[in-house]
Subunit: 352 residues, 2 copies
């Protein structure tokens, strides 16, 4: 029962609050707006130089073993921060088992990765570089040796972090600082909550009421609609919470045991970090394995396997319309210039 | 003997021109500066909207069969317009046999591709999308169907090209228009030619004199140092021009027969479009197969196999220093926003 405690808590909060109205909705209530800035750890304040370095590293394919995969390959910030694929493709054409989550607004998530195995963006950034099916570097030393062969990077790390600044922890700090700029404020939903009644269509307003009444927001709450837990603690839910529907097999929902893979604790079997709704209209396909192709089907499946509800087509359409109102304004960005080495490459000719 | 005719022509021109001096060097002479603008075909004038559409298409990985490879994957404009690899990696981890040439200043090349099989950028842009080891689309219809599933692209093609504008030819025109903005003016060399004596070091000036006296500029001439032939005609050279050195085997210089692959004409065996020197310090590794790792070795090999000269270490260092002066100013660019489709992806779940 522990898993549905947040649901009961929120449900009671909603019931006692009475009928919802925009005028009474404060940013800290069940309908918060996206904050203008993301929180940073005390030991990693954001500075323009650090953000710029992080942007370069985020876009640099040379942090992968064969020089083909950058952070942006799977978390494409020119799209919606993901890669439009079911599962991503890493070095040597390899594929992982989980769908690339969007990097936009990841700064607001309570933990990182689908299974929450990283407490924050700094921890997360150190993972993919040495994952054999993602960037394929042997270890962090190889990553930093590669970057250390590029004098302009060495200088930039030292300018940002001081002498001896070229370390994997600082690599992660720079990338995380850049990622904390990847926010999408000012969605139609946010404008509506701030008082612009015309920002949502009537259908979107109906969908908003439906996600409230159906219980979706028991989990999809907070500024990112991914649970308002304190940073680092993680907000998880079992999927399917109500097993036994035809969807379990159809979308292969249980063979990847989720957080149990990270903790080795059977209590975490099929537990997953709650996914954000921000820009969800643009991050198809859906679910941890990318097995659900469309947003309307994702809504239908979630209602059934998490809430035991069979939604009608009109309800699904209303919810999908509301979710579309969570597409925000993507920041305009300049392209970084990746430093090189005169007269040679740092990528091995035939990387294994 | 036909292959060395341009060499003899230029050599005579140089000899009759007498000793070179910066003051007498006009942009149309043997030491031209990079023009501020690239020429466009009459039927494809550059417009801001067309350039912006072309930039989106250039960065969009969804023009590849599995949604992983964009033009920018191998012609990375955040680096020096190539991918720092010997040969590029396409869809499904496949590798081609030739090194990705830089897209910067490609607008000035007399023909496109290493073997000149495309007369201009428009023709070039239609190739990689359907190359099985590059982007892997079955045919151009599949490419345009994919893009046609994205309403914002359809609208943008029609805004730029008129009703029914979503065609592969217009795809190519837009990409080519964007590529014609990828110029790197204002290198140290260009500033020197324009009269700034201090723009080059003494070593670079010695290197400049050496490439003149050694005969390198018999082929590496014109604004792009890749031959000043009229657009579309192509400027080719046989490599090795003087076969028989140990380099032929060491760097596997003859097994790919170059332009003969495109024309099926034995006279074109081992003929290659002359490569640009612009930004050459940043485009290692070198040669059509990326087999030569460093610029100093590339200089040594070229002198031997094309000019029959064994350069001393000091001469090589001088030439490499001069080539470094051809690194230009890369344009600052904003990232495009790639349009999506609400609630679904256009990339097949399991693309073959």
């Amino acid at each position: 029962m522990k898993a549905i405690a947040p649901f009961l808590f929120l449900l009671s909060m909603i019931l006692f609050a009475g009928p919802w109205s925009p005028a009474s909705a404060a940013p800290t209530g069940p309908w918060p707006v996206l904050p203008a800035e993301a929180p940073s750890p005390a030991d990693n304040p954001m500075t323009p130089a650090k953000i710029e370095l992080g942007k370069k590293l985020f876009f640099d394919p040379r942090v992968s073993v064969d020089g083909t995969v950058s952070c942006n390959s799977c978390h494409n910030v020119m799209e919606a921060g993901d890669d439009d694929r079911a599962t991503s493709v890493g070095v040597h054409g390899q594929r992982g088992g989980r769908s690339s989550p969007t990097v936009f607004n990841a700064a607001f998530l309570s933990v990182q990765f689908w299974d929450g195995r990283a407490a924050n963006l700094e921890e997360q950034a150190k993972g993919p570089v040495t994952n054999s099916v993602e960037m394929g570097m042997k270890d962090h030393t190889v990553v930093m040796t590669r970057l250390g062969a590029i004098p302009a990077y060495v200088a930039e790390f030292e300018a940002v972090f001081g002498a001896g600044g070229l370390t994997i922890d600082n690599f992660a700090k720079a990338v995380a600082a850049y990622e904390r700029t990847l926010l999408t404020p000012d969605s139609a939903y946010d404008r509506y909550i701030k008082g612009d009644e015309s920002a949502l269509s009537e259908q979107q307003k109906r969908g908003m009421q439906t996600v409230l009444e159906s219980g979706c927001i028991a989990c999809h709450n907070g500024a990112s609609f991914a649970g308002a837990m304190p940073m680092g603690q993680g907000f998880y839910q079992k999927v399917p919470l109500i097993p036994g529907s035809a969807y379990d097999a159809k979308y292969d929902l249980t063979s990847d045991t989720g957080r149990e893979q990270a903790t080795k604790n059977p209590a975490d079997r099929n537990m997953w970090r709650v996914a954000t709704w921000r820009n969800v209209a643009l991050t198809a396909p859906y679910f941890h394995n990318g097995s659900v192709a469309t947003l309307d089907e994702a809504v239908r499946v979630m209602a059934k396997i998490q809430l035991g509800k069979e939604l009608g087509d009109a309800q699904v359409a209303d919810i999908v319309a509301f979710l579309g109102s969570l597409t925000g304004k993507f920041p305009q960005q300049t392209m970084p210039r990746l430093p090189g080495v005169d007269g040679k490459t740092v990528v091995p000719v035939d990387p294994k």
